[in-house]
Amino acid sequence: MSTPFYVSPQQVMADRAEYARKGVARGRALVVLQYADGIVFVAENPSRALHKVSEIYDRIAFAATGKYNEYENLRIGGTRYADLRGYTYDREDVTAQGLANLYAQTLGTIFSSAAEKPYEVELLVAEVGESGAEDEIYRLPHDGSIIDEHGSVAVGGNAEQIGSYLKQRHRDDMPLGEALRLAVAALGRDSGGGEVRELTADQLEVAVLDRTRPQQRKFKRILGRQLARLLDENPHAPTAPEPSPGSEGDASGGETD
């Protein structure tokens, strides 16, 4: 009989989604925050060679968690797309929105194709604008949907807890040092709600899209001494900006501080 072999389409998709989600959750977290002069990317990444955050174009950067070879392929594809588009038309005609759409189509097609395994990745595409209000951040989960984000985003393992920690404390007009320390404090929170890990400069990969940079290419990695200096500026800062009650909506349950 054929019945034992029948699996409902709902079940197939649910299994694929579950598979991809689990893969992404195994990866270390990554956060993206808007700050006064642009957008900062902070990832927990002890490797110097394998980047989680990269430049795509003048004002556009890419960040991803999950399986390295899969998101690396997508990153290179995005760079080729952006460079070809800029070469064909003009540098101004390369936008994060176009790139995010392309990634969504690609991830969506792979997710629903029975011949391919779903990608175990979650991507972030961000573009820095002339002012904070014009910044764009897109989050692209494994299934090809696009979520338009503002302020702060977390992806990867334990993203929900890190994200809600950030949402309560983040302001768009934070200076870089403060935003960076907040991001590091958020990344150090473990899923069990247990003790907070202290992350040091050599466990972090940090980059910014800085709209005040005079160069056309706004992407810059923050490395070594500069990173250490920003992290040390004021060691009490990460916990200092307590949100005033009710200002950021309801605090999610389970958050203790």
């Binding site: 980047h51 990269s54 430049e55 795509i56 690396e72 392929n73 997508l74 290179i76 594809g77 995005g78 760079t79 080729r80 797309y81 460079d83 070809l84 588009r85 800029g86 070469y87 064909t88 038309y89 176009g98 759409n101 392309l102 990634y103 189509q105 690609t106 969506g108 097609t109 792979i110 290419r217």
Partner: protein
């Protein structure tokens, strides 16, 4: 078309294939017809008038290298454009100046800039200066068919070598043959006169400011004897483009800086029309 790849939905397989970090190679794979060297030229009879760029000069000094070019483009005996720009930054530590068929030259520079930027983004590190010079060589070679039909493009490449801590100059012939020049170099129609001038003026111990002045003098000499090279145009305020590459990176001199140098060179020539004189022995 491929530039609009979102029209086709997902990223085409060629975009996701790992391997090459070269934009030039990528373009020759997916859209070979868009490379300047791959275009078919229609047969024509008699000469065709196309804008040509002329003189580019470069000279090293202890802290880096200066690359400069005049502003004239000619079309036969006519001036096609008097404020054309022929010297461009290639990346943060190098620059390229191009003499020859202007249309192709500008396209080639755009492709070269993108080639370096693309490599940097994909690999996460910059090419060595030799590597950059070799890539330019390959791109010139790709244009050989055009060159044979009279549409040659001849660049001069200068950059600061961070590993060896000095400025270096590379010159090319139309077949992509590359040679490193010591001290100074020039390409384009006025290059003979510019080189002769720099021979007498250039010394390794000159400061950055003095090297810039020597380079402007050599362009003045080129314009003096070559009708296709434009001198500083004081009435229209059109001055040569002068760029300096040092440990700090690429810098293009502002109009204020270059106008001052051009003016003092011009003042000097009012006294000595042939320019500064070197001792005979």
């Amino acid at each position: 078309m491929v530039g609009n790849s979102h029209d086709q939905g997902r990223l085409p397989a060629a975009f996701l294939r790992p391997g090459s970090s070269s934009f030039f190679d990528f373009l020759s794979e997916i859209a070979p017809e868009r490379l300047p060297g791959n275009r078919m030229l229609p047969p024509v009879e008699g000469p065709v008038q196309i804008p040509h760029g002329t003189t580019i000069v470069a000279a090293t000094f202890s802290g880096g290298v200066v690359l400069a070019g005049d502003r004239r483009a000619t079309m036969g005996h006519q001036i096609a454009q008097r404020d054309v720009e022929k010297v461009f930054p290639a990346d943060e530590f190098s620059a390229v100046g191009i003499a020859g068929t202007m249309g192709f030259a500008i396209e080639l520079v755009k492709l070269f800039q993108l080639e370096l930027e693309h490599f940097e983004k994909v690999e996460g590190e910059v090419l060595s200066l030799e590597g950059k010079a070799n890539r330019l060589s390959a791109m010139i070679r790709g244009n050989l068919g055009m060159a044979m039909q009279g549409l040659a493009v001849v660049p001069l490449f200068a950059g600061y070598d961070l590993d060896r801590a000095k400025g270096r100059i590379f010159s090319y012939d139309v077949t992509g043959g590359r040679s490193e020049e010591l001290g100074f170099a020039a390409v384009g129609s006025g290059s003979v006169f510019a080189r002769g001038s720099l021979k007498k003026l250039h010394r390794e111990d000159l400061t950055e400011q003095q090297t810039v002045t020597a380079v402007v003098q050599s362009l003045y000499d080129a314009a003096d004897d070559d009708s296709a090279t434009g001198g500083p145009d004081l009435t229209r305020r059109i001055y040569p483009i002068v760029t300096v590459i040092t440990e700090e990176g690429f810098r293009r001199l502002t109009e204020a800086e270059i106008s001052e140098i051009a003016r003092s060179v011009h003042e000097g020539r009012l006294q000595l029309p042939n320019g500064p004189q070197a001792p005979v022995l």
